[in-house]
Symmetry: C2
Subunit: 188 residues, 2 copies
């Protein structure tokens, strides 16, 4: 057994990891998370729990970057704070269960979408109602207000549906419906 070959092999393992780390980073980029936060997540995914200094060493970036990166990932529970015995530094661990990651991520985003838009719709409809109730407006203006009101009203079922989706995913109920493992083909 040659030490040279062994070292080469270790490099190759790191290379294989990097392939996946990059892919995870690009995945997060798809959903609007910065590539650098994605790289951080990918690194933690393989490394297990890490301190900010360990992240800094691994990624060759500054500590404040690690701090803000971790913070951003925490927003949707992609990383959690952990306790490492006899360690003064804070340690963080990446969520390694992608199903859990998916649940955290999309329930969070979808709920945000629902709340944001339902609130905007509510405000807009209030405003439109006020217009329609006023007397000194033309029929044309009334109709336009009414039309917009109805368009908004008709969009509500979507948000209610999305809320149900978010709830099902957050609770894990979705996995009863779309099972983790595909159903086997029926035997004759």
């Amino acid at each position: 057994m040659s030490d040279y070959k062994d070292e080469q092999a270790r490099e190759s393992i790191d290379n294989a990891k990097d392939l996946v780390i990059d892919s995870l980073a690009e995945t997060m980029d798809i959903y609007g998370v910065t590539r650098s936060a994605g790289t951080l997540y990918g690194t933690m995914y393989f490394e297990g729990d890490m301190t900010l200094d360990e992240m800094r060493d691994k990624l060759g970036m500054s500590k404040p970057s690690m701090s803000t990166g971790v913070k951003r990932l925490q927003e949707f529970n992609a990383v959690k704070k952990t306790f490492r015995r006899g360690q003064r530094k804070h340690t963080y661990v990446a969520e390694r269960d992608f199903f859990q990651f998916f649940s955290n991520f999309f329930s969070h985003k979808w709920e945000r979408e629902v709340n944001l838009n339902l609130q905007a719709i509510r405000s807009a409809q209030d405003q439109l109602s006020a217009i329609m109730e006023s007397n000194d407006i033309s029929a044309e203006t009334y109709n336009e207000a009414n039309e917009v009101y109805e368009v908004l009203e008709n969009s509500k079922p979507y948000y209610y549906w999305l809320q149900r989706m978010a709830t099902m995913i957050r609770s894990g109920e979705i996995f009863d419906i779309v099972p983790l493992h595909p159903p086997e083909n029926e035997q004759e």
Copy 2:
């Protein structure tokens, strides 16, 4: 009926629309689509089909911005090209059915995630297999390669699941499972 009040009412309608347009733009921002593309979408959502020049006038931006914005929205079928009789200019229309929008958007993104990562995993595993098959490596290195290999292998069920989710959403099958309208409570 005073013309002044009517004009005021019209402004108020536009204001109500803007509230929702901003909210749609912020929604798209959540998912990593730029706010300006989101604003464009929101505008088209209310306006119906538009030419690039109409968009430019409405948003007070340059035509190339409109062109690239439309292009970006087309990537996930948020807008489609339409034909307006006797119109030489191209016209575009926003997808107004949010269920359809959701289907287009997430099936597109999820399929991209699946393909991206499964391919990276495949490459990484090939590389790791080659290492494990080589003779001149330490037991420790072998074990590390094997460990990473297994971690990747264990992540595959997630991607297969996500592919099924994407397929269900693209096909509309999801709406059989999570209905558009919530089931009524049973009568006693």
